[in-house]
């Protein structure tokens, strides 16, 4: 159907629609957390995620290497080094014998498929994060050059590096403060804990499609 005809019909419908009056807008309490990192950690833990709070920036690389090695992962996908908030993460993993897989998917059909099928055994994904929501333990990821979507999606283990100062209060507060966030990237995603399902008899199961384990490393500022 043509756009104009479609929209004309909708316009005529709105003219006769019987809709109640919208309720008045009440003020929100707008919780500002005294310690957003603490609230973030509590809420991420409650959805089966794991938060880490290294004391210094220098502690971050060994921590990430430990997490990946403990999971027995020998390959990883990651954001580019200059997209991560701490230098040396990729080199650290490679020095520990972990193989970094190329993350740029070719455009041509056949090459694309071959490349993606090769992702099937990637064990770990390492990314940064744009922001966090204290109230839900969520992290915000965007995509763009050097920031593949697949790194937080395909592997069974996801390690995200989030600056402590980037933790905001909630999804509604953050989106209201960042109206351009969605348009600036082809994919903005809020991740709240590991992939989960309760579809079989409402029994919780993790990692049905996305990562089974998510670690968020709260990177100290400065």
């Amino acid at each position: 159907m043509e756009r104009d005809a479609f929209l004309d019909r909708v316009r005529r419908a709105t003219a006769t629609a019987r809709l109640p009056e919208p309720p008045p807008t009440l003020e929100l309490t707008q919780t500002e957390y005294e310690d957003p990192a603490e609230e973030f950690t509590r809420n991420l833990t409650s959805v089966d995620g794991i938060a880490h709070a290294p004391a210094t920036i220098e502690d971050v690389v060994p921590l990430v290497v430990n997490i990946v090695q403990d999971a027995g992962a020998t390959s990883f996908l990651s954001w580019d080094a200059d997209e991560l908030p701490v230098p040396g993460v990729i080199e650290g993993l490679q020095a520990a014998g972990c193989d970094r897989r190329p993350a740029v998917v070719p455009l041509a059909d056949a090459a694309r498929r071959t490349h993606q099928v090769g992702y099937d055994d990637v064990a770990a994904g390492v990314t940064g994060a744009v922001a966090g929501f204290a109230s839900s333990g969520s992290i915000v990821l965007d995509t763009g050059p050097g920031r593949p979507r697949m790194a937080s999606l395909i592997p069974t283990l996801h390690v995200a590096l989030l600056r402590r100062s980037a933790i905001g209060s909630s999804v509604s507060v953050w989106l209201a403060a960042h109206p351009a966030a969605a348009a600036e990237t082809s994919n903005l995603v809020f991740v709240t804990g590991p992939s989960r399902t309760g579809d079989i008899e409402m029994q919780l199961n993790l990692g049905v499609h996305g990562p089974r384990t998510i670690h968020v490393v709260l990177v100290p500022d400065g």
Binding site: F6, R9, L28, N187, I200, G207
Partner: protein, 466 residues
């Protein structure tokens, strides 16, 4: 008067007391409890629900303008917008996209609207292999079944049934362990995802100002279906629009809490156009199909408020009728209280006039709805429409006219009450399940409390009378 081939009561009766429906009831109660707990700990819950309601109602009032803005924004980001009057048009559009790109396999993320238009069947007819990827929907598809709950489509199946299904259809060893069943599904679907040519999703919210579509899932299949294949097609009911990114934030605060008691679902996935230059991955093409399929007719009339629904399923979980009868009793894609309004409103009263009666009008749905949609009022309005169109049910007409005749003639009324007292022999434990004769049409759909052996008027005469 056109009768549905199978009506609500028959479908409900066929399922009452079965194990599948009992599972649905248990799960619905649990989900309802999780919703209550989530709002109890959310200080801004009530104010946020008011905001969400206001956004939805205001958007519907100017839906044409928001749709136009959304379409312009999608195009500005390199996406393609398609307009579909009905399901056939929408299916033809998706089939044409598939055929233009030699699509052999499409992966689907859970979507009510594509079930509404039966997109899978249409695509299979065009030679496209369609795979549902939400675990519940995958199981439903393997079994050749239909979903029984908006949020949890396979509530009606036990793990043993699912184990047998996987063994038979996927050639794996039988297991009834949910963790192992999940692993089987992950392994099977992962290889499908990475090879699929097209990803098809629904849309939870479409943002007019940015041309973004937002998909909310817990499993991650929504992200995979919109990332791995080279083409992403999103199909949306035309009412899914919110004007701004800030409005989206408000809706997200109530959706997860209402659906499953989660502050946010695991993956809130916001897609704005196809992969951009320099992006390492993601689909090369992005299409949005905007579907009317009866919605403009609903918007034009007195059921318009139901279009504010955000498909959280909260009204199903609290509904005493849904809990006992299950989703399949409603006979169509949308079940529970929202389905009792939406199905007749979208598909017409002729075939669906009994659905507005599939409710006790207790009001639990309105209390649970994050948008505070007045479902009981909408049901009453549809009942009035059914009656004026000559679709009133026989039990109601006969029952009420018999009562009116008796109640206006005291001698007849007393005789009826005495007969009622004697009729106590007909039932057990204080209830009569089946009245004889014409009264049978009343007890078809309800049990009748046993009348007292002695009518009240006789008792009054004996004890207080003069």
């Amino acid at each position: 008067m056109i009768e549905q081939p199978v009506r609500f009561l028959d479908r409900a009766r066929a399922k009452l007391g079965t194990e599948g429906v009992a599972t649905v009831g248990v799960a619905a109660r649990r989900l309802a409890g999780m919703r209550e707990a989530a709002f109890a700990e959310f200080p801004d819950g009530e104010a946020m629900r008011d905001r969400a309601r206001a956004i939805r109602l205001r958007t519907l009032r100017q839906l044409d303008e928001h749709l136009a803005a959304f379409a312009d924004a999608v195009a500005a980001r390199g996406g393609h917008v398609h307009w579909a009057t009905d399901g056939n048009e929408a299916n033809a559009i998706v089939a044409a996209i598939a055929s233009n790109h030699d699509v052999a396999t499409a992966v689907k993320s859970k979507s009510m609207v594509t079930e509404e238009i039966e997109l899978n069947e249409a695509l299979e007819h065009h030679g496209v292999h369609v795979v549902e990827t939400d675990l519940g929907e995958f199981i439903v598809q393997l079994a050749g079944d239909r979903p029984s709950h908006i949020i949890a489509p396979v509530l009606h199946k036990t793990r043993y049934e699912i184990g047998e299904l996987f063994a038979a259809e996927l050639g794996v060893d039988y297991t009834a362990d949910p963790t192992e069943l999940n692993a089987v599904a992950r392994h099977h679907l992962r290889s499908v995802f990475l090879r699929a040519d097209m990803g098809i999703s629904g849309v939870n919210f479409a943002v007019a100002e940015t041309g973004s579509v937002c998909l909310v899932t817990n499993e991650g299949n929504g992200r995979l279906a919109t990332t791995a294949p080279r083409i992403h097609v999103a199909v949306m009911g035309m009412e899914r629009i919110v004007p701004t990114v800030a409005d989206l934030g408000v809706m997200l605060e109530v959706l997860g809490r209402s659906a499953t008691g989660q502050r946010l679902s695991v993956y809130t996935n916001i897609v704005t156009g196809p992969r951009r230059p320099g992006d390492p991955d993601g689909p090369d093409e992005f299409h949005v199909v905007i579907l009317d399929n009866g919605r403009s007719g609903v918007l034009a009339g007195s059921s318009a408020e139901i279009l504010a629904c955000i498909r959280c399923g909260a009204c199903l979980n609290v509904c005493p009728v849904y809990r006992e009868a299950g989703g399949h009793a409603y006979g169509d894609v949308y079940s529970g209280p929202v389905g009792a309004v939406l199905t007749p409103a979208l598909r017409g009263m002729d075939d669906w006039h009994d659905l507005p009666y599939a409710s006790s009008l207790c009001g639990a749905c309105k209390d649970a709805c994050p948008i505070r949609i007045d479902i009981p009022e909408l049901l009453l309005d549809l009942r009035a429409k059914a009656t004026s169109a000559g679709h009133d049910d026989r039990w109601l007409r006969r029952g009420l006219s018999a009562y009116a005749a008796a109640a206006t003639h005291p001698a007849v009324f007393r005789a009826m009450l005495r007969a009622g007292g004697m009729a106590g022999a007909l039932g057990r434990e204080g209830w009569i399940a089946k009245l004889p004769g014409k009264g049978g049409s009343w007890t078809d759909s309800r049990d009748l409390p046993k009348p007292a052996r002695e009518p009240f008027y006789q008792w009054w005469k004996r004890n207080r009378g003069t």
